[in-house]
């Protein structure tokens, strides 16, 4: 996995609450057997009409947000299905950080596996960041994972919390499976003990 670097970039505002994974990547795009290339269909039904033309009002179609690297979103972002195609599409589009008041658990988890930082902030902070994002392409926000800080275009700094293990993995671009296999002896021991205590499994 690519290492998560400090980002200074445009943040796109999406204040809608309960943005679900069917909105992020509609099911017709789940038929791929690859991980790549889904950015073209990110938010497909909101972004394009049936003929494939861009819907000009949609935030990521506006000139100032086409290269957004950060998304500031309404509450309960990523609810719905477990499809990892959602973070794949977000990352493939170029977005590396999503900020909201809350995230659905599975989506939140999936982000970290794909080099995306999901940041949970209180409502008043999200409101401030949303207002900053509304300013457009001249207002560049900075995400510093190392320092756990978000800095707005006018220099306001907000700290955020992140699980230390996940932070470490993102910063170093670590592969989970490799890390887990370092504990393979523990898994072996567990399996042997379980074969005695719960042989029916």
């Amino acid at each position: 996995m690519e290492k998560f670097q400090k980002i200074t970039g445009v943040a796109a505002p999406m204040p809608l609450v309960n943005i679900d994974t069917d909105m992020i990547i509609p099911k017709v795009f789940l038929k791929t057997i690859k991980r790549s290339g889904l950015g073209a269909n990110l938010f497909d039904e909101m972004r394009f009409d049936r003929q494939g033309n861009e819907i000009p009002d949609f935030v990521l179609n506006k000139p100032q947000y086409r290269d957004a690297e950060i998304l500031v979103a309404g509450d309960n972002f990523g609810c719905g299905s477990s499809r990892e195609h959602a973070p794949w599409a977000i990352r493939d589009f170029g977005i590396k950080c999503v900020i909201s008041t809350s995230f659905a658990d599975i989506f939140f988890n999936n982000c970290f596996k794909n080099g995306i930082l999901p940041i949970v902030m209180p409502q008043e902070v999200v409101d401030t960041l949303m207002a900053d994002a509304e300013k457009g392409s001249n207002a560049r926000m900075t995400i510093n994972l190392e320092a756990q800080e978000v800095t707005t275009s006018d220099g306001q700094v907000f700290e955020f919390e992140v699980d230390p293990f996940r932070k470490h993995c993102l910063l170093e671009g670590l592969d989970d499976i490799g890390l887990t296999l370092a504990h393979e002896a523990s898994i072996d021991m567990f399996e042997e003990a379980a074969a005695q205590s719960r042989p029916w499994v």
């Binding site: 809608l16 909105m23 658990d105 504990h183 898994i187 399996e191």
Partner: protein
């Protein structure tokens, strides 16, 4: 004396294979269910790294999302090329990696969350995962079961563990008895109406109370299935005699002395007196009415007797979301829910595709005909549910009433297959999500119980099933 534990605490503690200094755990996984949509990239990852499936005997695969449910599928070819490639990839991966497999041609094939319990793969006290959010279904057995992403599918295939931090405990108690016409689907939707779709985020829910105890295993699976719609990755119901009776004799359930040993442990799987819950929600069973969703989030739920609410009656970001939902759904504020006309009825899915669901719908339909012009279909959750329904004469009731009688699969629940809504088409559906576009581009979904779906099929509009009983 040890501190009292919840059911979740007990299952969790029995599966921690390793705990790091910071509390990050490796949770051992007893059963890994796999379907064709979220697994190809995971198997590919294993190939690229030269890894094997660590426990193929604990891994069960079945294609369900993409498979057509029309009777002509027995000819063996899936017309949509991308769907066919995905199903063929699973055929190949299952064979190459040696996992248990129920191909499309197998009578036992069906929706993964229906096949698992039916075949006795799902047992009390287990950890069960699948690359599908409705894995919560298996919690009905008192198994800790939740959805995972594809990277985690690969992780479980390679290591038989998941990197996890423990969630919080939430209790949802449904006291007393349900009134006639009220079902497990109404319970689970009513709970989401109470907590919101984010209310369970970070929690594992334990459902309890008399109304839950009174449910069959099928009903309990319906309740746990939609824990995820309330934001909780997992829902649990403590196993009891109903559970044990369901499990006993299933093909992959333990037999003989092993069954007795298993049973002795299963009987310890309950929340201890005085155990701590971080959040408690209580509903009275007798207050729950048959419900329907009117909007585009499962929390947009109201009793069938209600009207479409005004956006202004909500707060914060929800005001805009409700405006958008009412426009998308093509409804008027103040419109009676029973005045909403329906084009299509879909009975099926991992939420309501089991035999009891088909019985409930058939009881309403028996001897009657669907409204003229109504498109109505029943999609059994598995080949075995289909066979049983045929044996019980339910299939005949459905076809006599004017329903299409389909083969097993996910079908119109998520429209990854040919079963889809057209633009603007309105469906009373027994599935689990009413998101925009979920059942087809610009399709409109109203989530209901099987009995309510049957009632709507007869009248052509959303209907209070109690008037037909």
């Amino acid at each position: 004396m040890t501190a009292p534990k919840t059911l979740y605490d007990k299952i969790w503690d029995a599966h921690v294979a390793h705990e790091g200094d910071d509390g990050t755990c490796l949770l051992y996984i007893d059963r890994h269910l796999v379907h064709e949509v979220t697994s190809p990239q995971a198997f590919e990852g294993l190939r690229l790294a030269g890894r094997k499936v660590r426990a193929p005997e604990k891994t069960i695969a079945v294609p369900d999302h993409n498979v057509p449910t029309t009777l002509d599928r027995v000819s063996g070819v899936i017309a949509n090329e991308e769907s066919r490639i995905q199903v063929e990839a699973l055929d190949k991966n299952a064979k190459d990696f040696g996992v248990h497999y129920y191909p499309v041609s197998d009578v036992r094939q069906g929706i993964v969350h229906i096949v698992g319990p039916e075949q006795g793969w799902t047992l009390p006290g287990m950890t069960v995962v699948c690359g599908d959010s409705h894995t919560a279904t298996h919690g009905a057995f008192g198994a800790l079961a939740h959805g995972i992403g594809t990277s985690e599918v690969e992780h479980v295939l390679a290591t038989q563990t998941l990197i996890q931090r423990k969630g919080k405990n939430m209790k949802v108690e449904i006291t007393g008895k349900l009134k006639p016409g009220v079902t497990a689907k109404d319970i689970t939707l009513a709970v989401i109406g109470e907590t919101g779709t984010g209310g369970g985020t970070g929690y594992v829910i334990e459902y309890c109370g008399e109304a839950i105890r009174d449910l069959s295993m099928e009903g309990r699976m319906t309740v746990c299935n939609m824990a995820i719609e309330g934001g909780a990755r997992a829902g649990l119901i403590a196993p009891d005699e109903t559970t044990f009776a369901y499990v006993k004799g299933r093909p992959h359930a333990p037999k003989g002395a092993q069954y007795e040993a298993a049973l002795a442990w299963w009987k310890t799987l309950y929340t201890d007196e005085g155990a701590h819950f971080d959040k408690v929600v209580t509903l009275k069973g007798e207050d729950i009415q048959p419900v329907v969703t009117w909007g585009t989030s499962p929390e947009d739920v109201l009793p069938i007797s209600a009207v479409v609410p005004a956006p202004e009656s909500f707060e914060g970001g929800k005001v805009e979301a409700v405006k958008r939902a009412i426009a998308y759904m093509g409804l008027e504020v103040g419109q009676k829910l029973t005045d909403i006309k329906i084009d299509t009825v879909f009975i099926g899915s991992c939420t309501n595709g089991r035999i009891e669901d088909l019985r409930a719908a058939a009881a309403i339909l028996k001897g009657k005909k669907v409204k003229d012009g109504m498109r109505a279909m029943v999609v059994p959750g598995s080949g075995l549910v289909r066979a049983q329904a045929e044996e019980e004469g339910l299939a005949q009731i459905f076809t006599d009433a004017g329903f299409e009688w389909r083969l097993a699969g996910c079908s119109m629940c998520l429209a990854m297959n040919p079963d889809q809504l057209a633009e603007g088409e309105r469906c009373a559906s027994t599935s689990n999500r009413n998101f925009e576009g979920r059942q087809g581009y610009k399709g409109r979904t109203h989530l209901v119980s099987p009995a309510m779906a049957a009632a709507a099929a007869l009248t052509g509009h959303l209907t209070d099933v109690r008037e037909m009983m």
